[in-house]
């Protein structure tokens, strides 16, 4: 393959691929995201390939494995273009039918279509599904069209066009464009990206670095992974543009080791870009040199913090540095000016260059521009990745796109921002989602996890969960974070196990304030947020645990007591069979009894009982 040296080269290349692609009459795309992988998309693909071979269609129908489509709830997903038919929950045995009806003829396989749970209507096309209809998929939209390990697919979609544009501009002009677009860091802090770039550019120094932060440690968030996995070139293009503007020649993509597919796809993408001359020496004949290396994280949440990430990149323990007031744009990797941005931020850059800053500026609301990807998970109907303009309300996201709560339960709260964020209660559902509003509500944007909780979720337990997470993830360097989180967890555990006292909540609040105030890095400074926000909105639940020794949601095990209602029990024996602890006794057709001394409160009996005889007291 020849290297691309000029704009003309790139266009010729694009035309050539287009021509090659035009011989395909149909394109069948299977979603290859990790969610769909879990649903055996690989077998579906193998079967499809076999069927294509059998019908001699390999040269007429293209078979693609794309990145995540976002609608992971209903995987594996198969789409057929140009008609744009959207099949969901496809299994191996459905393949012959798809082949016969949709590929050989232009018919539709009814039972694989998405069914609107409200209207009970079948939906044929992707854009018409309510989950997708209300979204604005600027970043994720291309995931379905691109095979992540084929640079050709990205280039056909107009890829690297922004890079060509940029290389002719003076660096300051590029920074002005990014500043004018109003793009803010998507990793959670929301710092204006253009200004960060400017700081880094203006810091003196021969060597500068750009880093893409894909250490997505927030449990419950996976949008960065899906972007890097599904469309790695958009991130790489953004990084090249940023590096050109800042004056850097070396970039790093820092990926969690839990994301092997993202590592692999990014690695392949970098290799392909190098081959085409889009990375390396003298990019597109401009004289600008830039290369990217992948660095795998070792599994530490704290490495999402920029100085800890740098320590990790330098091959040390991921401890944040003590001089927190010194910004990484002044002194970062190896003491050189370093610009760290999140995956999503980088992926936005080519879009802004291509469409102009004004276009980007008018999406979103007053202070927050553009779109944001959220991973909508938990007790919600349509789990998956959701991309909406900033300022969309929580209600729209959870109820319109997410389809409401699972099993018709009542919505209780939504947790945003991961372990550093907080819970937003039901009466704030009309809150527009942007950086400032979420902060004011005691939570934060974070990288975009959105965990929906219903009436069966205990807020004390949620606080306990996050403290437990942070206790393990704290690096242990500073006293307030190491000892403080441990003590907060002790207190919350006491409450959840019925040992809380009247003044416990005061101590908890006092301690939370100090941990927030005095911790060394961002992890500790925000560690108390899950506690503070649940205390703010759900204080009555804490008090219930302390005063009445009851867990209203039925989660905190030591406060529970399962009993069999004599009126309802038919003596069927199902509960006796299922109980892993042999705690239930009773003769057939007679009322069964739970031995409270043995019962471990696992709740298996309640789940299995057909007569609703097992009740929580």
């Amino acid at each position: 393959m020849k290297k691309i040296r000029t704009k003309k080269n790139l266009e010729e290349y694009r035309k050539r691929i287009k021509k090659e692609n035009s011989k395909f009459k149909k394109i069948v795309t299977i979603c290859g995201g990790t969610g769909c992988h879990a649903y055996n998309c690989e077998q579906v693909k193998q079967k499809l390939r076999k069927e294509l071979v059998k019908n001699g269609l390999l040269k007429k129908v293209a078979l693609k494995v794309s990145g995540c489509h976002g609608f992971c709830e209903n995987g594996p997903i198969v789409t057929i273009r140009p008609e744009n038919i959207f099949y969901q929950r496809v299994s191996e045995k459905d393949v012959p039918e798809i082949m016969e009806k949709s590929i050989l003829k232009n018919k539709i396989v009814e039972h694989l279509l998405y069914e609107d749970p409200v209207s009970r209507q079948k939906v044929t096309y992707l854009e018409e599904i309510p989950f997708y209809k209300s979204q604005k998929r600027l970043l994720l939209g291309k995931n379905g069209l691109i095979e992540p390990d084929k640079i050709e697919d990205y280039i056909v979609q107009g890829g690297y066009g922004a890079l060509v544009k940029v290389l002719k501009l003076p660096a300051q002009k590029i920074i002005e464009i990014i500043k004018a677009s109003g793009l803010r860091g998507r990793g959670g802090g929301g710092f204006p990206t253009g200004r960060k770039w400017e700081f880094c550019r203006n810091t003196e120094g021969e060597i500068k670095y750009v880093i893409c932060n894909c250490d997505e440690g927030d449990p419950g968030a996976y949008m960065d992974r899906s972007l890097l996995e599904g469309n790695p070139h958009s991130v790489i293009e953004g990084m090249i543009i940023g590096a050109f503007a800042i004056g850097s020649n070396q970039g790093y993509i820092y990926v969690r080791h839990e994301y092997p597919l993202a590592c692999r796809n990014a690695q392949i993408a970098i290799r392909q870009a190098r081959k085409l001359g889009l990375l390396g020496k003298n990019i597109l004949g401009s004289g600008f040199n830039f290369d990217i290396q992948i660095a795998k994280g070792g599994g530490a949440f704290v490495c999402g913090e920029s100085t800890a990430l740098i320590a990790s990149l330098e091959g040390r323990m991921g401890e944040p540095r003590d001089k927190q007031h010194l910004h990484t744009t002044e002194s970062g990797l190896w003491g050189k000016p370093t610009n760290i941005n999140n995956v999503e931020t980088w992926a936005n850059v080519p879009l802004i260059i291509n469409n102009g800053p004004e276009w980007f500026y008018q999406i979103g609301n007053e202070n927050s521009k553009g779109t944001k990807i959220f991973s909508l998970v938990g007790k919600v109907q349509n789990t998956g990745l959701v991309e909406v303009p900033m300022g969309t309300t929580l209600r729209e996201i959870i109820f319109e796109i997410g389809g409401g709560i699972l099993n018709g339960k009542k919505f209780k709260a939504v947790q945003t921002g991961g372990p550093s964020g907080g819970c937003v209660p039901a009466d704030s559902l009309d809150l527009p989602v942007d950086y400032e509003q979420l902060n004011a509500a005691g939570s934060m944007m974070g990288s975009g996890g959105m965990i929906v909780m219903d009436e069966d979720t205990c807020m004390v337990d949620v606080a306990k969960y996050f403290l437990n997470f942070l206790k393990e993830e704290s690096c242990g360097k500073c006293l307030p974070c190491r000892e403080g989180i441990k003590r907060m967890l002790e207190i919350v555990t006491d409450i959840s196990e019925g040992r809380g006292k009247e003044d416990t909540l005061d101590l908890l609040e006092e301690l939370s304030a100090v941990v927030t105030d005095t911790s060394l890095c961002g992890l500790g400074k925000t560690a108390a947020n899950p506690v503070l926000s649940t205390l703010r909105y759900f204080r009555d639940e804490y008090e219930n645990h302390i005063k009445e020794k009851k867990c209203p949601a039925g989660v905190c095990v030591p406060l529970l007591r399962y009993e069999i209602l004599a009126d309802c029990c038919k003596g069927c024996g199902a509960c006796i069979k299922i109980c892993p602890y042999n705690a239930i006794s009773g003769k057939p057709k007679e009322i069964h009894i739970i031995n409270q001394d043995i019962c471990a409160k696992c709740g298996s009996c309640k789940t299995i009982c057909k007569f609703n005889a097992v009740q929580l007291q």
Binding site: K323, L326, K471, E472, K486, R487, V514, T518
Partner: protein, 228 residues
């Protein structure tokens, strides 16, 4: 002669300092007392214990708490070392410290000085307060680089690799010398009627750490049986 080029305010007093100095250093020079644990003169500051937090106002930004041992002075900073917020934070930090290591003398001293009267957390019995002074001493001053932090979070410990004395260890005992938590009687190998003489017989010492006194929980540590 030292050239002072930066002026800032600490507790209402205008003070002068030189670029690159930290707030703690300037405050010390002016006789303003800030409690510390992990700070030792002539070793690089580390910012782990956070006991030296002060309230810092910069321009119009709302005041923040930050450790004074790592904060470089800047022109026009307004620092408060005795505000209510600082005193309260310090007191809780001291309480956290003494709750984790109640039998360490320095932890008790700090708690008393910060006005801790009761400890509301469950008492533990750690011997090491993880101030890291020994690690810095070993690495920066002695050039031994034998000791280090191991593990993370609540599992964090100061250890030698694989709990064995590596060849880098010079047996200089600098670590023992600087340890603020080490006020314990001599634990050497004694022969009746003689002075312990362990300094002459270092080779007989348990090999996990120079003196088996580093809060490690191996069998050789005379303190280990009570901790953990």
């Amino acid at each position: 002669m030292i050239v002072f080029d930066t002026t800032l305010t600490i507790d209402g007093i205008k003070v002068n300092g030189k670029k690159g100095e930290t707030i703690l250093e300037v405050a010390k020079r002016y006789g303003i007392n800030i409690p510390t644990l992990c700070f030792v003169e002539n070793l690089p500051s580390y910012g782990a214990c956070r006991l030296c937090v002060v309230e810092i106002s910069k321009g119009k930004n709302p005041p923040i708490l930050s450790a004074s041992c790592t904060y470089d002075i800047q022109e026009g900073l307004v620092v408060n070392t005795k505000s209510e917020r600082v005193v309260k934070a310090r007191k809780i930090l001291a309480e956290l410290l003494v709750a984790s290591a109640p039998n360490v003398k320095i932890a008790q001293d700090i708690a008393a000085r910060c006005g801790v009267k009761e400890v509301r957390f469950k008492m533990e019995d750690n011997r090491c307060v993880l101030c890291g002074i020994c690690v810095r001493m070993c690495h920066e001053q002695m050039g031994g680089e034998a000791l280090g932090f191991v593990g993370r979070g609540i599992e964090r410990k100061i250890q030698m690799p694989f709990n064995k004395r590596p060849k880098e260890c010079l047996l200089c005992r600098g670590c023992e010398f600087v340890c603020p938590a080490m006020e314990i009687p001599c634990q050497g190998v004694k022969i009746p009627g003689e002075l312990c003489g362990r300094c002459l017989r270092m080779d007989e010492m348990p090999y996990c750490c120079t003196l088996g006194s580093f809060g490690c929980s191996c069998d050789h540590n005379p303190l280990a049986s009570s901790s953990k």
